[in-house]
């Protein structure tokens, strides 16, 4: 429900990461890591992202979402468990005393910039039109 706000933040972070030179770099993609233990719906997020980047340097950039599994470490037997449903117990000893070590990520990991030559050709092409 708050995907629009999140999309705006992602666009902000991605925009500030675009190198100043050369000018008019085309951004191909924004790569995002999203933990499974977040309240984010990837499809809604992509939809919102597409809207918020219209007429910005990120226009047309893909939003690649890498889902990060929920991983827990048992505080009693130290076994690692990947949590796949709502059952938050140790896969080995069934203890409920867990430390969640991943799954809450919501991180812009990188942006992908088109090669300057590629952008240049695109620009020339669009000028001809």
């Amino acid at each position: 429900m708050h995907e629009m706000g999140i999309a705006l933040q992602i666009a902000e972070i991605a925009k500030s990461a675009i190198p100043k030179t050369p000018e008019d770099l085309k951004i191909k993609a924004v790569n995002l890591r999203v933990g499974k233990l977040t309240a984010i719906v990837p499809d809604s997020l992509r939809f919102c992202f597409e809207i918020v980047v219209k007429n910005t340097p990120l226009d047309g950039a893909a939003l690649n979402i890498e889902e990060v599994p929920i991983v827990a470490v048992c505080k009693e037997c130290y076994a690692e468990t990947i949590i796949t449903d709502a059952d938050f117990s140790c896969g080995k000893c069934k203890s409920g005393k867990l430390d969640i070590i991943s799954g809450r990520e919501l991180t812009v990991s990188s942006i992908e910039v088109a090669d300057p030559e590629e952008s240049e050709t695109n620009k020339k092409k669009s000028k001809k039109k």
Partner: protein, 224 residues
């Protein structure tokens, strides 16, 4: 060419939440973030709890809704200071963010306050994602909502430090199993204390209040 960024999307909120936490701690205020779906009985529960906390604990409330000041009006009968936030001004936000809490807290004289309860916007999804600078988070589930809510919204029940199963007085009239509701909460968060209450019939409230007081005492002890 790939350019590495690695920045938390909620950076801005997380930073401000940490600043809020430090500010509240300096002021000697314990902050409790109370969340639930709409209509779980948060406001009634809070009203009854506030009456029992007086005069021993000096409390204040920040209450969030998308529209109306109805909840603030209902809480006002307790005599504790209440600040109502309506997120309509922020685009009808579905949760209270850290910056909104900071602004609302400025309207309170915190020197006279021991406990600040934030009644978040009714929603089991978004508020779970946004820290506001609280010391602990609690979720209210009413038995009328269905026993499987914790399994459907695991993040909310996972991030909370305490849960309340409310409207227990209605159990005889419902085809609902409170034990199953508690079991589902504990599946998601086995270490979480769960209290069964009826806000309208005022049952189970003292057990929860004792828990809250113990948390406040722990914080006060740590500050010494």
């Amino acid at each position: 060419m790939e350019i590495s960024v690695v920045r938390q999307v909620l950076d801005v909120n997380d930073t401000m939440s940490e600043e809020n936490r430090q500010y509240f701690t300096q002021q000697g205020v314990y902050v409790f973030n109370l969340m639930s779906s709409p209509g779980s009985g948060k406001t009634t529960l809070l009203t009854k709890i506030l009456m029992r906390l007086k005069p021993e604990i000096r409390a204040a409330v920040i209450v969030g809704d998308v529209c109306t000041t109805n909840d603030a009006d209902r809480l006002a009968v307790t005599g504790v200071p209440v600040v109502q936030i309506t997120t309509d001004d922020f685009g009808g936000d579905c949760h209270l963010a850290a910056h909104v809490i900071r602004k609302a807290a400025k309207e309170l004289d915190l020197t006279d306050i021991d406990l600040l309860i934030v009644e978040n916007i009714g929603n089991l999804v978004c508020p779970a994602e946004f820290s506001i600078g609280e010391d602990s988070k609690g979720v209210v589930l009413s038995i009328t909502e269905g026993e499987d809510k914790p399994l459907k919204y695991p993040l909310m029940f996972r991030v909370c430090d305490v849960a309340i199963l409310n409207k227990m007085d209605l159990v005889p009239y419902l085809d609902a199993d409170p034990d199953l509701a508690v079991k589902n909460m504990l599946t998601v968060h086995p270490e979480m204390p769960v209290f069964k209450t009826s806000a309208t019939k005022e049952t189970g409230l003292d057990e929860f209040i004792d828990w809250l007081k113990a948390q406040m005492a722990k914080k006060a002890q740590a500050a010494k």
